[in-house]
Amino acid sequence: MSGFAAEGGEVEATGGDEADHAGVAGEAAAAAGEGAARRKPVVCIVLGMAGSGKTTLLQRINLQMNSSDKQGYYINLDPAVTQVPFGANIDIRDTVNYKEVMAQYGLGPNGGIMTSLNLFATRFDQVIGLMEARSDSAEGLDYVFVDTPGQIEVFTWSASGQIITESLASAFPTCLIYVIDTPRTTSPTTFMSNMLYACSILYRTRLPMVLAFNKSDVTSPDFAAEWMSDFEKFQEALDETADESYMGSLNRSLSLVLDEFYSTLKHVGVSAATGEGIDQLFQSLDAAGDEFIRDYLPDLQARMAAVAARTQAAKEREMTKLMADVAVTRGDKPLREGGEGDAMDSSNSG
């Protein structure tokens, strides 16, 4: 695997004015501990199941950004995609050759994607560096969009996905855009499964989430908005499909859980095809960025400190054990009577 390729396909937006978010800029700067008045860009990790339209949505976002004065930056993390229509600033494919990885390691398609992501994650600090350099430059940066592999589990259930997410969140306000294939999610049980999965992602990443109900030109997401705001309506729809069985009763209890889940996030109906809802999407992303700084950043820092503390404590435990062993084998602390000099055998070292 060659070293990091230089950025290619830079997106040049027209104009270079910094986004006008004076209040947030002050907060962000304070939180970041810098003296700069510049606001940090909001990083948006785009997640969704294969076919939900992540890449097409990014293409639409790119179009919108081009005709505004906002600065965007695009990162593609899908090693198996054939075409990236939005012109990525950083593309995993420049660094990792997915087919080559499969061949060299004797992997199938899933293993190939996984391994490519793993390889990329080891260099991710370079990506952060490039992003920061761009953010500090004259034009600045308002948004960073990260396209993830089509197979959602490869990102959400892997160590490298976690490393990448945490690296981004440590350096920038970060949020998740969870893209939903609206036409396929019209049945209440499918809707519930999808929402449970989104909820599981929320707990895995602990980042603000925006639900993007995509393909609104095909199926209006009004039904989803109704189900998410009116618990009774969702129950009615569910009761029509579910029965009085054990599962029926579990369904009902879980929909109460989901009702609480919805209150923690924002949702927007969008169409990547027509551009409908994109303005609202940007508003939600801005709000998510603010939310990150206010609610999520302290938690993230506390967790990182906790992990460091636990690792340190574990190291200290091991060191103590080791020192005890060394003391014993040196004969400082004889184990049994008459065992001083003979304590070279392996003692019960825990």
Partner: protein, 345 residues
């Protein structure tokens, strides 16, 4: 139902459906479990229904292989689908051709079956498609008594929040499969590879007092040992944890559901440890009734002599085996986690 089958078709057939995210160890599980079962004298047949599992990469020899029905590469090249799309297509194709599967299974009816299910594209198959459910329901109609074994890499339980994430995904698959369900934390021998656990292993496996998890989520900065000792008394909740406050109501609701339905508990597994495999197997056998079936067979043998003794033996075998769980957990902790034996539950 089988009108042309022999006597064997009338006996129920027992087995496991192995599901879980990619990398959780399903194929390794099927292989290890089959070796264990064989050592116990139980005849096993592994049914590979994961289109992405290719013959030459499989550690086991499948008795039935979906590759004989539909080839992933063939679908990808003929229909121009990516790997995910091709897997979904293959499973839908299987759903439309269940006669093929039922026919192939007939030869193995007297055996214990292990179904290796797709990991990749598993999420889509569970949320957006009904093919997996339909396949499972059809098998049940033909009296295949199955336990869903949901594998998750134990690493995903390295903190409370991630554990809740795992619980949610387990719930999701439970609801879709509608089968007796056993959750397994696989690769427990590697559990502390990425750092020490936030709290005791038995928390995960017992999962009866889920509200305890709230304490752990709210107090991330404290050491694990401190938290362990603190369990009985009231805890102070640190003020500044805004995300926790944000999520605490949601977390509480999730915990309530899990507790009140008594649904979710996990068993640890180290596939290389026979004792560990045996414990998981005993839970699986209880879940689908195999243990009762085999005890019933033994009981029927002495039915003529003393029916009541036979019934007692039946109940005893079905409900035994729980008392040693704590000792087992203590030994798993000792073996795989960096704790001293001073801990107790």
């Amino acid at each position: 139902m089988a009108d042309d089958g022999g006597e064997e078709d009338q006996l129920p057939c027992f087995g496991q459906i192995v599901v879980g995210p990619p990398g959780s160890g399903k194929t390794t599980f099927c292989h290890g479990m089959s070796q264990y079962l064989t050592a116990l004298g139980r005849e096993v047949a592994i049914i590979n229904l994961d289109p992405a599992n290719h013959g030459e990469r499989l550690p086991y020899k499948p008795a039935v292989d979906i590759e004989d029905l539909v080839s992933l590469e063939g679908v990808m090249s003929t229909l121009g689908l990516g790997p995910n799309g091709a897997i979904i297509y293959s499973i839908e194709f299987l759903e439309k051709n269940l006669d093929w599967l039922l026919d192939k299974l007939r030869a193995h009816r007297a055996k214990y079956l292990l179904f290796d299910f797709p990991g990749q594209a598993g999420v889509e198959l569970f949320t957006h498609y009904t093919c997996i459910q339909n396949i499972v329901q059809t098998l049940q109609k033909h009296d295949y008594r199955l336990t869903a074994v949901h594998l998750v890499d134990a690493y995903h339980c390295s903190d409370a929040s991630r554990f809740i994430s795992v619980v949610l995904v387990s719930l999701m698959s439970m609801m879709r499969l509608e089968l007796p369900h056993v959750n397994v934390l696989s690769k427990v021998d590697l559990i502390e590879q990425y750092g020490p656990l936030a709290f005791n292993l038995d928390f995960f496996t017992e999962c009866t007092d889920m509200t305890r998890i709230l304490d752990y989520i709210d107090a991330p900065a404290r050491g694990a040992d401190e938290l362990d000792r603190d369990l009985q008394g009231a805890h102070e909740r640190p003020q500044g944890d805004a995300t926790s406050k944000k999520l605490s109501r949601l977390t509480r609701e999730i915990c309530d559901v899990v507790e009140s339905f008594g649904l979710v508990s996990f068993t640890t597994l180290d596939i290389q440890d026979g004792e560990s495999v045996g414990r998981v197997l005993s839970k699986i056998d209880k879940a689908n009734g195999y243990v009762v079936q085999s005890a019933a067979a033994a009981a029927a043998a002495q039915q003529g002599r003393d029916p009541r003794a036979a019934a007692n033996a039946l109940f005893q075998s079905a409900f035994s085996g729980n008392e040693a769980d704590y000792e087992h957990l203590a030994s798993v902790r000792e073996r795989h986690m960096g704790r001293t034996s001073g801990d107790d539950t």
